[in-house]
Amino acid sequence: MSEVDLSVNLGGIKMNNPVTVASGTFGYGREYADLVDITQLGAVTVKGIRLEPWGGNDLPRHVEVPGGMVNAIGLQGPGVDGFVNEYMPFLLEKGVPVIVNIWGTSLEEYAEVAARLSDVEGICGLELNISCPNVKEGGNAFGTDPKTVAKLVASVRAATKLPLMPKLAPNVSDIKPFVRAAQESGADAISLINTIPAMVIDIESRTPVLSNKVGGLSGSAIHPVAVKLVWEAAQAATVPILAMGGIVAAEQAIEFMIAGATSVAVGTANFIDPSTSIAVINGIQDYLERHEMKSATELTGSIILNK
């Protein structure tokens, strides 16, 4: 067995390895449980939920584009009770740490969702989705002004002791004020990036392909954008970073960690090859061994700028 220590502490979320799955790309874990040994993951991050069940957008909700896809699912979900009753028992039985992605249309709703999830066994952290481009209220509306981010994080902070991790929007001119606002208001970690606002038009009918007209771009295509944002966020961050955006293999995950990420999440790639997350874990381990590093944490922020 190797001596490499893959474990990380993502702002109080203790992970056996740095790899989780990105919210919305892995359901609630059990959908992929036949294909992926989810107990091997550092954590399972589930699809975004709000207080009550939510229906999401009309179809079409996605379209394939070179290097990825554009989606406008619209945060369909079972609400807090539906999630806790229908989906948590399976995850609890698996014993894998669970990160719940939450959203709302008001500060109060975010806080109430957080409070209601606080005492649920098995949940080890909350990712605050303040950056979804696909719902009219909530989501991105809270993520594009640092003052709003500060207020939101503070009010959720007051409602729960669980590790809190706001998920930042990529479509801002400078990410650092958002990082500072979040951590000064009590965030334990930062997660980025969410999908990048995008649009696809059918040129024959001259109509938008998605029923929501616009959506969010994910997949390989966004990876270099995400690396730059993670690198910039790391310069302002005093808390750990969970990085995602276009990971298809260990190389992109390692790149994120070198840029400053403590943990990484595999998103769109799950749809194409469900074994990606496990391959990323193994690839990180191989890399650490090859570079004679003793722990995954050594990789975090190890970027060399002046050669």
């Binding site: 959908e31 294909l35 999401g56 179809l59 290097g67 369909q76 799950n270 090859d273």
Partner: protein
């Protein structure tokens, strides 16, 4: 459900447009039930391309076959796959048709919709009628195979180039009426374009029979995780819910669907 690396056995054309791809699929093939589908990563497309869903046309002795037509980027590349090339296949997926019903089975197919219905015909414990529709004779597939199994086949084409001219729902109505006159119960199974499924569903509801409809929605994950393929459905208590065609379906009873 498995993610299985399958080797192509044979890959012949069955008409100018349609090809039959046969895959060595081991336990995936063994577990496949009629109405289920597979989600294929097409080699030759960029590695970041999404998978494509295809109904299971047949499964015998570890060989799984798919009957398909080139309609776009992925299926065009797929057509050039040679025997012995390998592809990643997730399956079997979805709920499948119920096999334990009763009544005269009427299968109603449009285009490649004949694919899951053929697999069904090989596994049902009773024989009945296949009603198949298409634009032209070119779209009418696999009817000899149904005849070999002892099924009666009725064809309708829009241009009259094969069978009777018009929509397949016309002979379907006739079959329904003759079953009714004979006091026979019927159970319908259908796969094809939405407009056809909707018409079949309406006829089933009117005639108080069951119709199992296989829906076709664009998919991303194929396993129920992404919520790209949803369909609004009735619950028995009259309320509605949003199901996933890939994992709650693709087969729904006509009365469940909110069109």
């Amino acid at each position: 459900m498995f993610d299985f690396l399958c080797k192509v056995k044979e890959h012949p054309h069955v008409t100018d447009d349609y090809m039959l791809i046969q895959l060595h699929a081991g336990k995936l093939a063994e577990q496949a039930r009629p109405g289920q589908f597979v989600h294929i990563r097409i080699p030759g497309l960029e590695k970041t391309s999404l998978r494509r869903p295809f109904s299971i046309y047949n499964s015998e002795d570890g060989i799984l076959s798919i009957l398909y037509k080139a309609v776009g980027r992925g299926t065009e590349v797929m057509q050039s796959l040679q025997p012995d090339s390998e592809l990643q296949v997730i399956g079997p997926l979805g709920n499948g048709f119920p096999l334990d019903g009763s009544g005269e089975p009427l299968l109603v197919a449009g285009g490649y919709g004949v694919a899951p219905l053929y697999f069904l015909a090989t596994r049902l414990n009773r024989k009945g009628v296949l009603l198949v529709g298409g634009r032209t004779a070119e779209d009418i597939l696999a009817i000899d195979k149904f005849k070999e199994l002892g099924w009666r086949v009725v064809v309708a084409t829009n241009d009259g180039s094969m069978g009777e001219k018009g929509f397949v729902t016309v002979p379907l109505l006739r079959e329904l009426e003759s079953c009714k006159a004979a006091g026979k119960e019927v159970e319908m199974f259908s796969c094809g374009p939405d407009a056809m499924l909707k018409a079949v569903g309406e006829m089933a509801i009117k005639s108080n029979s069951k119709a199992w409809l296989s829906l076709d929605k664009h998919m991303v994950c194929g396993v129920g995780a992404c919520l790209a393929c949803v369909q609004k459905l009735h619950k028995p208590d009259g309320s509605t819910w949003i199901g996933r065609v890939c994992s709650d379906g693709p087969i729904f009873e006509a009365g469940e669907i909110v069109w």
